[in-house]
């Protein structure tokens, strides 16, 4: 198993979170600030979570992913997509009921035809479909060559000031 990493990237209207390795969130400060920032950014209207290089997810990480779906729903955005080619990870996500809250796919959508086959989107508005497809195409463009587009989330956290990160919730 490889030590886990959380990588994040933003491209136009899409926020991409990529989880790599054995992801165990034992960070002392939660990722709340990051999520708050993302949801405060009105430019972002779709989410893709890439689990293609994920070996394992701990319960806290699953909680974080669920929060993204819950927040997206309450903001009236389309369901976030999860790309999970690993059957075992998919099984874990399904056991947690994620199929109700996410578009679970083995690989990113590349055509609008493939989009029609996603049951969650079949009855959706056209603009939602367009957003989801655009988000998937963005993910596809993030390959080995432009890995630099991704930034470690831990690094993003370190960039926020110490008091921001460790502020206690009274």
């Amino acid at each position: 198993m490889h030590t886990g990493k959380l990588l994040a990237a933003q491209s136009q209207h899409t926020f991409i979170l990529k989880l790599v390795g054995d992801v165990r969130l034992t960070l002392c400060c939660t990722l709340d600030q990051l999520l708050e920032r993302i949801f405060a950014d009105k430019e972002i209207n779709s989410f893709v979570i890439d689990l293609s290089e994920t070996e394992n997810l701990d319960s806290t990480t699953l909680g974080l992913l669920a929060k993204i779906a819950v927040q997206a729903a309450s903001n009236g955005l389309a369901q976030p997509s999860i790309i999970s080619p690993n059957q075992d990870i998919t099984l874990l996500l399904e056991s947690m009921g994620f199929r109700q809250y996410f578009i679970l796919l083995k690989q990113p959508l590349t055509t609008s035809q493939a989009l029609q086959e996603v049951p969650q989107l079949a009855g959706s508005e056209d603009h939602i479909k367009a957003q989801v497809l655009a988000a998937h195409l963005t993910l596809m463009s993030m390959n080995e060559q432009n890995k630099a587009a991704f930034k470690s989330v831990v690094q993003a956290l370190e960039e926020c000031t110490g008091s921001d990160c460790f502020e206690s919730k009274d």
Binding site: T60, G63, A66, D88, S95, M96, G97
Partner: protein
Amino acid sequence: MSKPEQSGALGYQQLVEENAKLKKSLHALEQDQLAAYQMQHRLLPANQAVIEGFRLNCLLQPALHLSGDFLDFWSPQSNKLVFYIADVSGSGSASALVTILLRYLLKKYTSQGELSPAALCTKVNNELLASGLEKHLTLVLGCLDIPTRQLTYTLAAHLPVPLIITQESVKELEGEGLPVGLFPGAAYKDYTCTFPEQGRLCLASDGVLEVLPGQGLQARQQKWQQLVAATGGDVETLLQRLANPLIGWPDDVTLMTLSGC
């Protein structure tokens, strides 16, 4: 003595002092953890207990002192037996605090007369989300009607899936459900079955899957089922067979069985 050596010697003295201070505070932290562990332990049922003609056997093997796993079994009213096993996300002290909150909530709601496992899950789900603790849990919650042996239960994303052991077979309890404390408005469902005569219900936390051999969740669940079949679900034998000195206990391991006596 040259200057660098002098500062080196000073540094050494400082290190000794620092080390002594660290040892002292580590000891204080350990004592604190131990006190909390003893408290959590006192809130658990005995390793063997009989209520309303049903026997509980359980064992907890925490990864740290404090556990994010919890279980209980009690009779909120005559002829009824409520039991559960829960696994709170994360581990250690913060998760242990949530196990105590869960115990309190379930005791409160059942004493108010609510015995539907699905309704209880809904209440706990709302309470956890409202609390803003950012913790969720997986749960198997059941209520047995003693005279009819009817078991009503709900499953909240708990792994491994509960097993019913009879003389003929080992079968998974049917059903599915969302974790508790993660999704607002999550709906839970009550499932029913008859608790088999001479049967034994075997529950465990997902820590067992981490110590079992095999690649992947499915393979490990299969191994778990085989192990339960081979041991008849005896918790002590199960824990012995799960112990692996090479890996220790990476996650809390909790085992629990319920059988008629």
